[in-house]
Structure formats: C-alpha cells, structure tokens
Symmetry: C2
Subunit: 355 residues, 2 copies
C-alpha cells in the first residue's frame, strides 16, 4: 500500500479509503489508485493487518477432538459441520477447521487452539477433561459447545441423550427382550484396548454423551428387572462400521448371546448388522439392533435401522447462530436442547422364540 501511496503522492490513508469508503475519495483519484495498484501488484488491503487493526477476523473456529480428517468419515459430523457453515456463511464469516491433532500430544493440540486466528469457537463433542476446551476458554473468546462437555456459563446445544436412550431401551424391553448387549463408543480417553468395559470403567466416563446414553439404557433395564451389571458393554474407540463389527464378534460369541444389541451410533449398529448377517443371523428375527443418530444411511440400509433421530444440521446451525449472536453481543439462551425421537424401523422385532 505504501508503494501505491508514494507513487501517487498521497497518504496511505487515502488508499485505505479508496478501498473501504469509496465515497470519501474523488472518483478520479480513486480510479488512479486502482490502476496504480494493479500496475504495482497491490491486491488491496491485507486481511491480516486489517484484522489486527480492527480486532476481528471474521472467522469462526471449529474444534474437534479427533484429527480433522476423521470428522469427514461420520455423516453425523459432516451434517453438523454443514449446519455451522450455513450459519457462518449467512453472517459473511469464514469457517476455520482447527487442526485437531496429528496424533499429537495434548499440548500440541491445545497450542493449535491458542494459535487460531478466529473470533470465536464452536466446540464439537469433546471429552470433559480435554485440554482443547480449557485452551479455548482461556482465550476468553465467545464459545459455543455442542454435545459435550456441558460447562457452567458456556452456551450449549445438544439433545437429551439420557431420555432418548431410555426410549430405545424401552422399545426393546417392550418387545420382550431380556438378553442385551451394548456397543459403545469411547467412554473415556483411549488408554486401554477396546473391549468390555466394567462398571468401574463406566463410572469413570469423561464423555458426557456416552455417560448419558449408558445411564438411559441402565435405568430402563434395571426398572425391567434386568440387572445392568450383567449387560456386557463393549467399548470401541471411535464410531465406524469396522469397529461395530469387532464389537459384535465379541458380544455374539458370549455365553448365551444377546437377542438385542444397543449401539451408541448408527455406524456401530450398521457394523453389528453386517457381522450378524455373516454369522447367519437374520435381523431382526434372530437379533434386534438399534442405533443412534439417524444418519441418512440408516433409512436405506438393509434392514432399515431403528434409531434415535436428531437433526445434526440444525444442531450445527444453531451452534453457529449462537456463536454469532455472542459476537454481536446479543443476549442468548445458555442451553438449547433439541428434540430427539425414536424412529422404529425394521432392525428391531420380538426376540426369537416369541411369536
């Protein structure tokens, strides 16, 4: 910019005005400025310098716990991101995907957060004790949390996981099932191998969503006289079909195998179904399977999956809007619970042996 100003013998403020408030610069001078800029290769005000001066970047940051690229594997996460993007775009803001981790240390992950040049954060589904969240809050920037963790004073968007889980469990209990198995995603940090999680492990859960869903199942089963401590809970570290298959392999090999499997995500449930089929079990005749999330594939899988519907895109959009409202210093609700409802499809039925 200085070069352009000098070339034309005007102050740099005039250049700035030519770009930012054209009406304050005479038409002819403005044209000269643009022309000279073009000639000198000046592409207009530098966004970084502008951000420094204006103290805002026009960028919203999204924080995931996993490596960025994993986020694109799960339809639920992509839909969430789509919602956030819709909201920020509407407000003319860009979206920054903060590099979660390169398999990197908690420290490195936190420092990626400290280094993000953004006006605020949307935190998506992160463990209670993850340093990412602490780092975001330390920056004292407007922040919205989706799904987890639930923190005092930080705006929150999510669903009532416990009651949704209760609905699913009740559905299966009502069908007459008595032998259950559960396929869970992470209960806490992956400091052990995947496998059956005992009650100690369950009690030390740091992922609120997992905790709530398991609690929902537990409540209903116990109320039906089915002791929770006898229900095997297989913990996977992630949410994919492949992991669901591993889990099913273990659960279906146990003593008297379960007649119903509750999965904490659709991806896991779909994996379970695949394995069941391979073992010659038909779903739902021999085994009922229920998921969670209602990703698009749940409706078209074979059989279509009984699951809990939630509107991931809307959740993202709401999170985005809440963030933007904060940036505009508008008053906002602190907690926004979105509806979730059981969707019964064909992957659940009466247990074998009942008519």
């Amino acid at each position: 910019m200085t070069r352009v100003a000098e070339e034309l013998g005007v102050s740099s403020m005039t250049i700035s005005n030519a770009y930012n408030r054209p009406e304050r610069v005479s038409e002819s001078l403005r044209e000269q400025i643009f022309e000279t800029a073009e000639r000198l290769g000046y592409a207009g005000p530098d966004p970084v310098a502008r951000s420094l001066r204006r103290q805002k970047t026009n960028l919203a940051g999204v924080l995931y716990s996993n490596p960025l690229s994993y986020a694109f594997d799960d339809a639920a996460q992509v839909l969430f991101l789509k919602g956030v993007a819709a909201a920020t775009e509407e407000a003319g803001m860009g979206l920054v995907l903060v590099p979660g981790s390169v398999g990197s240390s908690p420290n490195a992950r936190a420092s990626a957060v400290m280094d993000a040049a953004v006006d605020g954060f949307v935190v998506y589904s992160i463990a209670d004790d993850d340093p990412l969240v602490e780092a975001a809050l330390r920056r004292r920037m407007p922040t919205v949390i989706a799904d987890q963790p639930l923190l005092e004073g930080v705006p929150f968007v999510g669903i009532d996981n416990e009651s949704a889980a209760r609905e699913v469990a009740r559905h299966l209990v009502d069908l007459g099932h008595e032998r259950f198995g559960v396929v869970s995603f992470s209960i806490a940090a992956a400091d052990r191998a995947p496998g059956i999680a005992d009650s100690h492990r369950q009690r030390s859960a740091t992922l609120r969503v997992t905790r709530a869903r398991l609690a929902g199942y537990e409540g209903v089963l116990e109320a039906a006289g089915l002791p929770w401590k006898e229900v095997p809970v297989y913990e996977c570290f992630g949410s994919s079909k492949a992991l669901g298959r591993e889990a099913a392999d273990v659960l279906l090999s146990q003593g008297p195998p379960p007649t119903a499997i509750l999965a904490l995500s659709d991806q896991l449930a779909l994996g379970v179904i695949e394995t069941a089929k391979e073992r010659g079990l038909s779903v739902p005749e021999d085994l009922s399977v229920a998921g969670f999330d209602d990703v698009p594939e749940a409706a078209t899988s074979r059989p279509p999956l009984t699951t809990v519907h939630q509107d991931h895109t809307k959740k993202g959009e709401l999170a985005g809007r809440l963030l933007i409202a904060q940036l505009r210093e508008e008053e906002t609700e602190d907690t926004d619970l979105l509806p979730a409802r059981l969707v019964v499809r064909d992957s659940t039925g009466r247990p074998p042996g009942t008519s």
Copy 2:
C-alpha cells in the same frame, strides 16, 4: 502482553521469548511470566499480530463456487475436502472454508477471497470465467486448482474426464445401445432454466469438466454412427438426486425413450434410477444408467451403479500437498492427472429386445 511486561518490569520481548523460545529465558522468570499472564488474563501471543509480523497465517483457504453449505451435500466434495484436510493437518495448518456466496453477487464473492487471511488457496471445481479464480490469482498467492479451470502456470489436479467419459460411452455402445440420453450438471452459468441444452449451449460451456465429459460421450457415439445432435442433453444446475429425477422425467417422456442414460454424476444417476423405477422400468433390463464419480453409495444402491471411479480423497490430499509444497517453495509438478477407471456394476446391461 504489555501489561504483563510492565507488571514484571521486563521488556515485552522477554514475554515473547518466554512463549516462543523458552530456553532463552531463565526458568524462574519464565514461571513468573506464565503466572502473571494467568493472573492478568493474558492468553499468550495474539495469533493475528503474530501472523502480521511473521507474514504467514498457517492457514490454507478452500474456494468453492457454491455456498459453503452445499459442499457438504455431495459425497464427492466431502471426500475431496477430507483429503485436503488430511494434507493440511499433517503440515500443522488449519483449513479455512471461504464463504462462497450468500446467494451473493460475483463481486461479494470475489471480495470474500480478497479478505481471506490465508497463505494460499485450493480452488475446487470452478467455472473458467468465475471471478473467484481471478481474485485468488490477483492475490499472487500459492494456488492449486482441482478439476477446473485449467490455467496456464497454475498447478492442477484432476482426471482425464474426456477419456473416462469415452470409456463409459463405449461400454454402453458395446452392449448394443443406440438410443441415448444424457443428464448433465451445469454447462455454464445458470442464466436460464434447466432443460435440454442445444448444441449452441454446449459449445458455450464454461465448465471444463462438463465440456470434457460431453466431448467424450460425443466422440464415441459419433464414431459408432450415432449422431450426437440427436442425443438429448438435459442440463441440471447442480448435482443431486432431486435434479436427476427431474431430468429423467423429461428424458423418459420423449419420442422413443432412450435405452441408456449417461449421467455426469452419481447423484444425478441415482435420481434417474429412482424415477425409472417409479415409472415401472427396471434397471438395467428396460433402462441402463451410468454415473460418474463412484461415491460410496454407488456400490450399495439398488442396483449398484456402473460409474467412473476416481479417488476424491486422494485428489484433495494431492491438492493440499501441492499447495504446501509451493508454500515451502519446493519445486512441483504443474499438472497431476489421477487415474480414473470404469467400474461396471449392475445398472447397465443389454438394451431391451436383445437377449
């Protein structure tokens, strides 16, 4: 930062060092600094100021032609993004999704590009004459283009669309088809209603990918003695099942209906199949349908879709890597053609009436 420095009676440079080169500051002072910072609510060096000073943001920008949120609708685009994310994350960079347009004017879109605080751009599938591209290049930043446009001197990643299209067309010609229909996505800017695109429209194509695929079909059909000008090409403005259904409605209502429909994307093809089924046509017995892209759903749809496979994630990753290489001022190839190959599944077969 200044406050922390004054509080401790040291220079601000020392604060900077405490964070950036801890070994240059005595242990005791460093601890005091962190403690005072905590107390005063200083969260560490401001990323914007640092970017200004260091003249780099550690951020890569991705440019889409459509509103950001659309990008999440098409699996192919999501996979591409995933690839870019994997590459940038590996290099410790964040990813900025530049707000494409709020249904906004070309000008507004270009200015979003001028305002993006990034170190370089990945341009994804944009029309030859779109001002976005020009804006990106005007910034004289490292840039990589994926799919389109193909510009002299700008690193490029994509596939050989024309020859891939030829393979699909040849497959169907070999099966014996003689009456074709084509479902295309945008040929040029959406300045008209969707519908059959005459040869004039086709010649004025500003989207290179569309142009190449159509040219591929044309070459093979003409060579087989089937005059291209008699082949109806239905132009949709976008790529979704819904649009594919509209197109199929028109094409299947025409004089003698086609026995084979070539779609420029899997989404469009899947839509065509849905409509065909609804009309009581079975695929491939009554109608053959081929797509393009090989999104995951193509393998599980009913019937599974004959299509052209390309590795979208790899394409994104390569684009990301090329950008990073440029940022590091390494030498790079200018054009990277990825392989693409015909995948024959069950949506194509011999035309009706042949055994």
